[in-house]
Symmetry: C2
Subunit: 406 residues, 2 copies
């Protein structure tokens, strides 16, 4: 009785907040502002990319499986509420208790908030080889820590983690609020290991508004998998039930890479070189063999000085045509973390997020790009994480990872 | 001739970009998206607060006054163009040259972009006492490095700077693009010293949409100076011609403080304590002696346990009524810089920006707040800068700081 009255009040409060905000933002209807939380797949993967990102990776500090399960249940309920624009559920408000919700998103519309969870390899087998939670036998064969890859110089303090949460919203305060509240709810069970704020999306998965640009000034994600392309998602993104790990069927693998861009030398490179590096025109985004952004690159075209799209051009090396049809779903954001004190240069770049059916898709691609891509002069992978993202939740009684833990 | 053709082309390109974007954002007309650059005061001070911030402080590395003057002229022209949504001016595009503009804001509307400059005390007298640019005699008497203040533990790597630029826009990529391009243009003359990205505004200066909340979940800036309140601006924000430094008349002083908030212990504090710390109700923002956010606090009200608004409540200590009418114009933003590796806690808080007619307004306030405010248990000032912001530019032939250097 107490619980249902509280839920009712929260529902009303949430609807009120959305309604009030909608009045200030005539371009967005309240309903269009909410992305459904439950479904066969987690939201935030094929969902049209929101403008802002807050990402946090956690280390699990408990050794008790039941604590972890309890947290996943609590997190699922909190995440579901927040995506509706409702405060984090908790005891009835009281002067004598801390508020159940930290409050900074009070009155803000959810801005298509999605909250997506992934489990790191360490949850199945810890770095010291122990099986803390009896999950070692449930680890999918395809799921191991990423091998050392060319083009990387990783900072352990910005890599790894037993659990990762990706919160995306058109409002950065809403995305921040989501990971902050999950962090708070996790106290005693998990501790935040690293975090990144993405200030502008760099890939589209079918939004209106055109292809966004990365911090090198080029359109990024022109040939990305569209969120509505179920065939491509089924082939390249969603783990199938038959892939060898039943609990992960309908899920996906998230590869996170903090890719530092050396923008100062890039900005001093002449336009023709910049375009040769990508194999595309900077302004239009068209391949150097075409005139429109969405023209298919002609990798066989030869000019007076050799191939029009160079052998080491990014678009050639990454193209599905040149990788046996290999594709990934990108969902990256630009980041900046101020000035690199050692060099006086800007610490900025691409927070690369990609969803794949098998981590080997990324490994294959990065082995090739990391060793041959002309872009390597201007980028370096400095942070890394790999996470197995369970399928979506079916309804109010379901919770993140249920099939893994039961 | 060459120059005027280029200018014309840039004007057309800029108008096109704004027009195209306006089509995607029906709530914002193109004209409403541009804040006029020129005027008696710099834009970005009394201007209604935009959603996002990119702030960078620079050290001047040249010792030649003419280099500095040349840069200020280049910066002014670039800033004026960017606020109109036009690329940074430069030589006619050529394959053989680096692009004049880094390009990541191509196709984005300016989002009310303002770019505001300030000069640090070191420009007038360097830390080693030298007068590098012959400006020592032009230093206003009121303008000296801030004294040591209670409540601070400053990181020199996130403090100071000879020149500071505040870029504000509703689009973070546009704000980032602005400071990045000024940094690039400054190569050889200045070097970036520190930077901060503000992801959500925490103060309003007269926008619609209500008072924003800070990361402690409380509304911030309820009693802020309104951008349209010319009387208050004249009394508390704009330096008057008679204030003793002719070149700064119509300008203002910017105080920047990186205020770390210890959100984890705050989030565990009971609601009644949180409200006692601020002297306001969390949800409504009303003073504890009222019911509406904009009710005037009744500092004389006494309840069974003493004053309703405690002696050490933030609102009491900061109120103009209790400080001889002292007011400041706040323009702060929430920031986060990931996880504090030493403690596993969130490195987040308020990037406090305030504009004052005399730095002593801030010093007086912080001496009081830093020693007595109940909020000190949950915050610490960890970065600091003070900058003298010249008046606005009068037109295309004017440039930032002209009256100081000529």
């Amino acid at each position: 009785m107490e619980l249902s009255r509280r839920r009712l009040l929260q529902g009303i409060a949430g609807a009120g907040a959305v309604g009030a905000l909608a009045g200030c933002a005539p371009s967005a209807a309240a309903a269009a502002d909410v992305v459904e939380f439950h479904g066969p797949h987690q939201a935030g993967i094929a969902t049209p990319v929101q403008d802002r990102l807050a990402f946090t990776a956690f280390d699990v500090t408990t050794t008790r499986r039941e604590d972890l399960v309890a947290l996943l249940k609590t997190w699922t309920a909190a995440a579901e509420a927040m995506t509706r624009g409702v405060p984090v559920p908790g005891p009835a408000p009281s002067d004598a208790l801390p508020p159940a919700d930290t409050g900074e998103a009070d009155g803000l519309a959810p801005g298509r908030l999605t909250i997506t969870i992934g489990f790191g390899p360490g949850l199945f087998t810890a770095a010291d080889g122990t099986d803390r939670f009896g999950l070692a036998a449930r680890r999918p064969a395809a799921f191991a820590p990423l091998p050392a890859l060319p083009g990387e110089l990783l900072d352990p303090a910005r890599s790894g983690g037993d659990v990762a949460v990706q919160a995306c919203s058109d409002d950065p305060t809403v995305a921040f609020h989501a990971v902050r509240n999950l962090t708070r709810l996790g106290r005693g069970t998990v501790v935040a290991r690293w975090a990144e704020l993405g200030f502008g999306k760099t890939s589209s998965t079918g939004n209106s508004g055109g292809t966004p640009r990365n911090l090198l000034g080029f359109k990024d994600g022109t040939r990305n998998i569209e969120g509505a392309d179920d065939a491509a998602l089924g082939q390249h993104v969603w783990v199938a039930d038959g892939d060898g790990a039943g609990w992960l069927g309908g899920g996906s693998y998230l590869v996170a890479r903090r890719i530092r861009m050396f923008v100062e030398p890039w900005d001093r490179d002449r336009l023709s070189d910049q375009q040769a590096v990508f194999g595309r025109f900077k302004t239009s985004g068209a391949p150097l063999t075409g005139t429109d952004e969405f023209d298919t690159p002609d990798f066989g075209a030869v000019g007076p000085d050799g191939p029009v799209i160079a052998e080491d051009a990014h678009v050639r090396l990454a193209a599905p045509e040149n990788n046996g049809g290999l594709r990934i779903l990108r969902r990256g954001y630009s980041y900046t973390d101020g000035i690199d004190a050692r060099t006086g240069t800007l610490d900025a770049g691409l927070f690369f997020l990609a969803y794949v059916r098998d981590p080997d898709q990324f490994v294959t691609l990065q082995r090739k790009l990391g060793s041959s891509d002309a872009l390597n002069e201007y980028i370096r992978h400095v942070g890394s994480g790999l996470y197995a993202c369970p399928p979506g939740t079916t309804g109010p009684d379901d919770w993140w990872g249920r099939a893994l833990f039961t």
